[in-house]
């Protein structure tokens, strides 16, 4: 089943099922140590050690949210400045047009609004969601990933991938079951 790098592999990858989080964490570390990089783990709840074992980079999300918040705050303040000072100035007893203390509340609210929107949209964008189709769902037992089972997927496009050897490696790591993942 080995293939040339450019041809499409016959299967999407191999999926191993584990009964406990400890087995998954250990397997993920060993698989990473064995040189596999196109690897993903699936868990019913977030497990920090799995992210460490996969050597995931720090999330870019905080910077996106910071950018969103600054944009929102500036937009909110400039909107108020422009409409109250330039576009529609109202002289009420000679009070200043640029009455910044009165602009604090909408500026604050716009900062939060934009930051929150960038947090949610940014999270979905970084995760590539919505994603209506993913080969992982072709494994019937994968439905348990949202209950109490832990899965490790090694993709066939990984340079080190070899159908038989990779399967043996996963079985050696106490996977209860290893299945082919169709495209």
């Amino acid at each position: 089943m080995s293939s040339t790098p450019h041809a499409r592999p016959e299967i999407f990858g191999l999926m191993a099922e584990f009964h406990t989080a400890e087995e998954l964490i250990e397997a993920t570390q060993k698989v990473h140590a064995a040189g596999y990089h196109h690897v993903d783990a699936y868990t019913p709840y977030p497990i920090e050690e799995v992210s460490h074992a996969l050597h995931l980079k720090r999330s870019k999300l905080p910077m996106i949210v910071l950018g969103g918040g600054i944009t929102g705050g500036l937009a909110g303040y400039l909107l108020q400045y422009w409409s109250s000072v330039i576009e529609y100035p109202m002289n009420i007893g000679g009070r200043p047009f640029h009455s910044w203390p009165a602009f604090i509340v909408p500026t604050f609210e716009m900062t939060i609004l934009f930051a929150a929107l960038s947090a949610v949209l940014g999270m979905f964008a970084l995760n590539g969601l919505p994603e209506p189709y993913h080969p992982a769902f072709n494994v019937p037992r994968f439905a348990l990933a949202s209950r109490d089972r832990y899965f490790l997927l090694i993709e066939a496009r990984d340079p080190k991938f070899h159908a038989d050897e990779t399967r043996k490696l996963l079985l050696d790591l106490h996977a209860s079951e290893v299945s082919d993942v169709a495209h």
Partner: protein, 464 residues
């Protein structure tokens, strides 16, 4: 020097567990998703039917309002604000407990929040929906409510950004949006759980589409956790700002009884007080009918009772300070306002307020009352009424007795005021019953992290 160790092991007071013993990720998942996926229980139809009937009263009241205008309400000169603003503040205050539970308690690492946060966030959304209707209806021409938003228009007009009422528009709409986002983000992994559990094709699609193809990938959880924490961090100052801005609606005005610097913290505490009372009012019956005592345990009930007691005392301090300010400021009008509250034409409202908000909740000092579901429900109902009376005291009682006796008046709600109020309760309850029927009312994926299997896994040291 003596250290803590010299005293030997310190015996910690017993705390009931957050989740009843014996649960695993599998049982938690099955038990919570069963509430949604099993056949609709008979009582649900009855409960939803009653709520829907109340909702139809709202339809009637609003139709009448659109046909005839705000004249059908009890508002008058000098009381231009009545039930509409009382109920607006009451509802939006109730919403605050949801955000407090989901955001602030998350940041403070209060694990017990996990079983009630989803439900409390839903309560926030529905309460804000009810609240938002009132100012819009009160404008008199609600179909022009979009004029409140800044947008380029052919009239060449812009909102008056120096007005607290415009601040309110920004605060409440941001609060509604961010609460919805927070709630939805929390729901995504649980929608995926339901998609994987659902038997019928329709249910699979209905849960699968909003789940957006979530599959619990470690890469996804990695960003997800950051997003969730950031949203909690953003919601925390937001929720504190919302009731602060609502209090500015009054505090920025010059009416005696409104123009007080204590309003923002006093309003925020009142909001949390009212909100926890409403969470208990709803959670106690739901916990019983769905058999969720394993997840909403004595620990939750006791903690919520303690939060109510603490915020209730802050509110009572606020009442006391209003009287102190009235005396210490030497302001004639403020002093009259204080006397008028206690001895004026609305004195029974004031007495009711003190009984509901200051006297009855003192029962919560006693453990016996804190741990009894009956007494908790009893106290919560008093607080629900008390917080409504508090807004009644602040709004019409202050407005109807301002500076000049020639402009005094009296205020009372008409049948249409009551119909609108009862109608929004119908809207709230209808949405709530739809929610408990269609979505998991306890966050499944967060509950999985609380059960013993999971805790063992994540506390294990990992070799680098």
């Amino acid at each position: 020097m003596a250290t803590l160790d010299d005293f030997g092991p310190v015996e910690k007071p017993y705390k009931p567990p957050v989740v009843a013993p014996g649960h695993t990720p599998a049982t938690v998942t099955d038990k919570i998703s069963a509430v949604v996926l099993e056949r609709t229980p008979k009582w649900w139809y009855a409960a939803f039917g009653v709520s829907f009937f109340l909702l139809m009263i709202l339809m009637m009241a609003v139709t009448k309002l659109f046909l005839e205008g705000v004249g059908i309400w009890g508002i008058n000169q000098p009381s231009g604000w009545g039930f509409d603003i009382i109920n607006f503040v009451w509802w939006i205050g109730i919403g605050h407990a949801g955000t407090l539970i989901s955001a602030i308690l998350l940041l403070l690492r209060q694990e017990w929040r996990t079983s009630i946060n989803r439900f409390a966030e839903a309560m926030t959304l529905f309460a804000v929906a009810c609240a938002g209707m009132y100012p819009v209806l009160h404008t008199g021409r609600p179909w022009l409510a979009y004029w409140l938003l800044p947008y380029p228009n052919t009239m060449g007009l812009w909102p008056q950004f120096r007005s607290p009422l415009v601040w309110d528009v920004f605060a409440v709409s941001t609060y509604a949006t961010v609460s919805l986002l927070f709630w939805y983000v929390g729901l995504v992994p649980d929608l995926a759980t339901l998609r994987d559990r659902a038997k019928s094709k329709l249910a699979k699609i209905a849960y699968g589409v909003p789940a957006m193809g979530w599959r619990g990938s470690a890469h996804h959880w990695h960003n997800y956790e950051v997003a969730y924490l950031l949203l909690a961090g953003l919601s925390t100052p937001l929720v504190l700002s919302v009731h602060t801005v609502v209090s500015f609606d009054f505090a920025i005005g010059i009416i005696p009884g409104w123009h007080a610097t204590i309003f923002p913290p006093y309003f925020v505490a009142g909001a949390i007080y009212a909100g926890f009372a409403m969470v208990l009012t709803l959670a106690l019956p739901l916990r019983a009918v769905f058999g969720l005592q394993d997840f909403i345990t004595q620990r939750h009930l006791q903690n919520m009772a303690k939060v109510m007691l603490a915020t209730g005392l802050i509110v009572v301090y606020g009442y006391a300070m209003e009287f102190f300010f009235a005396w210490y400021s030497g302001n004639h009008y403020e002093a009259f306002m204080a006397v008028n509250r206690v001895l004026g034409p609305y004195k029974w409202h004031w007495l009711g307020l003190i009984i509901c908000n200051a006297v009855v909740p003192q029962l919560l000092w006693i453990r016996k009352f804190r741990s009894s579901t009956f007494w908790l429900f009893f106290v919560s109902m008093f607080i629900n009424v008390g917080m409504w009376l508090e807004r009644f005291i602040i709004i019409p009682v202050s407005l109807s007795r301002d500076f000049l006796p020639s402009s005094w008046g009296m205020y009372s709600g008409t049948i249409w005021d009551w119909a609108t109020f009862i109608g929004t309760m119908g809207l709230f309850l209808s949405l709530l019953f739809l929610f408990v029927r269609l979505l998991p009312m306890i966050s499944v994926f967060e509950m999985r992290t609380l059960v013993p299997d999971a805790q063992k896994a994540s506390s294990k040291e990992v070799a680098p």
